[in-house]
Amino acid sequence: MAHAAHPEALAAAPHAAPGGSFFHRYLWSTDHKVIAFQYMFTGMAMALIGAFMAYVFRMQLAFPGAAVPGFGVVSPGQYNALVTNHGSIMIFWVAMPVLIAGFGNYLIPLMVGADDMVFPRLNRLSYQLFLVSALVLLASLVVQNGGFGGAWTAYPPLSANKNYNLTPLGSSLWVIAVALEFVAFLLGGINFIVTAMNARAPGMKAFDVPIVVWTIVVASILFMASVGPLMAGAVMLLFDQLAGTSFFNPFRGGDPILWQHLFWFFGHPEVYVVLLPAMGIVAEVMTVFARKKLFAYKTVIGTIIATGVLSFFVWAHHQFVAGIDPRMANVFTITTLLISVPIAEMCFVYIATLYGGSIRLTVPMLWALAFIAEFLIGGVTGIFLGASGLDVYLHDTYFVVAHFHYTFFLIAVIAVFAGITYWFPKMFGRLMNEKWGKIHFWGTIAGFNGVFIPLFFLGAAGEHRRIFDYTTIPELGRPELQALRIFATVSLLVLLAFQPIFLVNFVRSIFRGPRAEKNPWRANTLEWTAASPPPHGNWAELPQVYRGPYEYSVPGRESDYWPQDEKP
């Protein structure tokens, strides 16, 4: 599609104002890059809180009843609130803002050759709503009676009735925070889709768009199409909590299982909403550091779309034993296992891309390769859970916990590190330290596997979720199982101990790192043709696009890359 001369809305936006006070430049800006940083830094701060929660409840599981350093003795109510909010924060306030909103905002205009998002003010409003939602969630943790403890899935009647959950304020604030967060991402999603579709640089056809932009746009469409039912559900839940309605109260004509359908109709596509952008980041990094064209670009786009469509038809695999019609489980087993076809195909394509490459194991490449290697574990263990006959046993055990951390940890941590270390020179105009980057990488990977491999065995042994002390349960309190729990907790401490290395490297490199040139990785995509860091408006003159994003090592050319905007 031809470049639609940048919309009128843009011209009217408060655009060419690079000066101004700190407040206007960094807090009230409509610049997509500043908003991307706002999302990323807020997401990282929330990640620290979510990680602290994981530390507290893992310590409780390894050493039940002992005072956790930095927290104290954990009560059962606090334990429930910790696991609930760890899940909520890591998915809604870390994975979503960093991957979709952070990378989406930073990359889409730069990669499609636009000077900003199509709706810059809407973009600013999106972050402000998100910030409010984060503050409401944090407030919910410290109100009277404590934070909500009914799991991130918030199944009623427990979540709907304060006589059951005992946290009247915490539960309502939790629902309000989640609903506000959805509104924020709806606004962001509109921007991503419209910008990628209408504001591309002259010459950039749909199949010249980098994979990461495709994935973020498809993810935004999935989000917008799936979040409606859950928004309705959230309002109904809030009414049940505050106004005494009975949408989900079985004793007054409601149905608790209705919530589960509304929740998972959103909740399962949500997995792909964050997975797809992560896969996109990995594709960008892998092609650059293998100096290879992406294997079968159009097939990848096909798998992205197929995954997105199929993800709408698998939700009830979360409910096999919830009391739904047992015949439904057969249908959802089929759809769930079928989704392994496009996802496996995507993995095959990525592996095939390495064939014939010239692979450089830089820090971003290590993260991208680790994503694929670890994602295979997350993928194959999903098959166990999608198989209805086996899910009767494995549902709601730590096998599930281990499985989804082999997807979500990769998404929210490994892919994010790949993206940050790869685009860091563009974001801040400086390079990060490679040696410390590699030390951080190996420590994180070792710690991560040490935490979650044992959890597969614990889950297979029948360890059910959200229990604050297993040692009193005869079959689950066996010493060899407790030893696995302690191993997982110690691995978590190792994992956490390596993170300050990244933080120091990150902050230090922003101010003191060696200066980066415009295109330090010799990459093709358009963001590398802008200055590092790009100014407000990105380019003095918008680029013209002549070819696709992955023309690496084209035969007969002097250099092994061919930027999208280089004249033929």
Partner: protein, 255 residues
């Protein structure tokens, strides 16, 4: 595999364990093959001076078939797993073999209560025996269980039976299992149900008929109590509407 981690005590434990093994073998082969290929490619095509990368679009049929073959094989494996999984599922959840006895399992914050039909082997009669936090069954019998909840969602989880089913307030779920091996096992609640979720456990004793009869005799005094309390889940006055609403599919029926 699973039987080494958790005892195996119901007639379908073995089916679930074999399904686990089947899937483990199939996905294990894929996993090892994919990782081996992946690491070999990284090693084989590591950057070396004078060895530029090749230009491969992946559009050629000759190359694309490497993806397409794998893709078709994944589909075949999926079909095998689906068939095996559905067979186990239908056996456990979608069929209801004739029962020797029927028991009632009631979840509430935060305890399991079990109603044994007593010496006359009929529920809701004066000789029912009701116990909290412990369940007693006879070995080698096919049981139906009526699963109910008085308040929030709970999930009746007996790892040794490979059985899990949510208890939904306002509904009576009827399921089954057949006890195969005597012993004591855990009963857990697998669905978060509030503050005391972690302590909502019970002890299951599966014993021979004589032993069970002796246990029943010891608890004969509890009968009157049990009679007063049934039917269990009528916690709210207007349950009837909700129950009728759910009187539909599968095992779920109005009470």
């Amino acid at each position: 595999m699973l039987e080494h981690l958790v005892p195996s005590a119901s007639s379908f434990s073995g089916d679930v364990d074999r399904l686990f093994l089947l899937i483990a073998v199939i996905v294990g082969v894929w996993f090892v093959a994919a990782e081996a290929m992946f690491f070999w490619l990284i090693f084989r095509f590591r950057a070396a001076p004078g060895q530029p990368a090749q230009y491969i679009t992946g559009k050629e049929k000759r190359l694309k078939r490497w993806i397409n073959w794998a893709h078709a094989l994944v589909l075949v494996c999926d079909v095998v797993i689906i068939v095996a999984a559905v067979r186990v599922w239908v056996k456990i959840k979608q069929t209801l073999p004739p029962a020797d006895l029927t028991v009632r399992v009631t979840g509430q914050q935060w305890a399991w209560t079990f109603t044994d039909p007593g010496p006359d082997r009929r529920l809701d009669t004066a000789d029912d025996v009701r116990t909290t936090d412990e369940m007693h069954l006879m070995v080698g019998k096919t049981y139906h269980f009526q699963l109910v909840s008085k308040d929030v969602l709970h999930s009746f989880f007996v790892p040794a039976f490979r059985l899990k089913q949510d208890a939904v307030p306002g509904r009576v779920y009827t399921g089954w299992f057949r006890t195969e091996r005597a012993g004591t096992y855990d009963i857990l609640c697998a669905e978060i149900c509030g503050m005391g979720h972690g302590v909502m456990t019970a002890k299951l004793t599966v014993a021979g008929e004589a032993e069970h009869a002796a246990w029943l005799a010891r608890h004969a005094g509890d009968a009157a109590l049990a009679a007063v309390d049934t039917p269990a889940p009528a916690a709210a006055p207007d349950t009837a509407g909700a129950a009728a609403h759910h009187a539909a599919m599968g095992h779920t029926q109005a009470h």
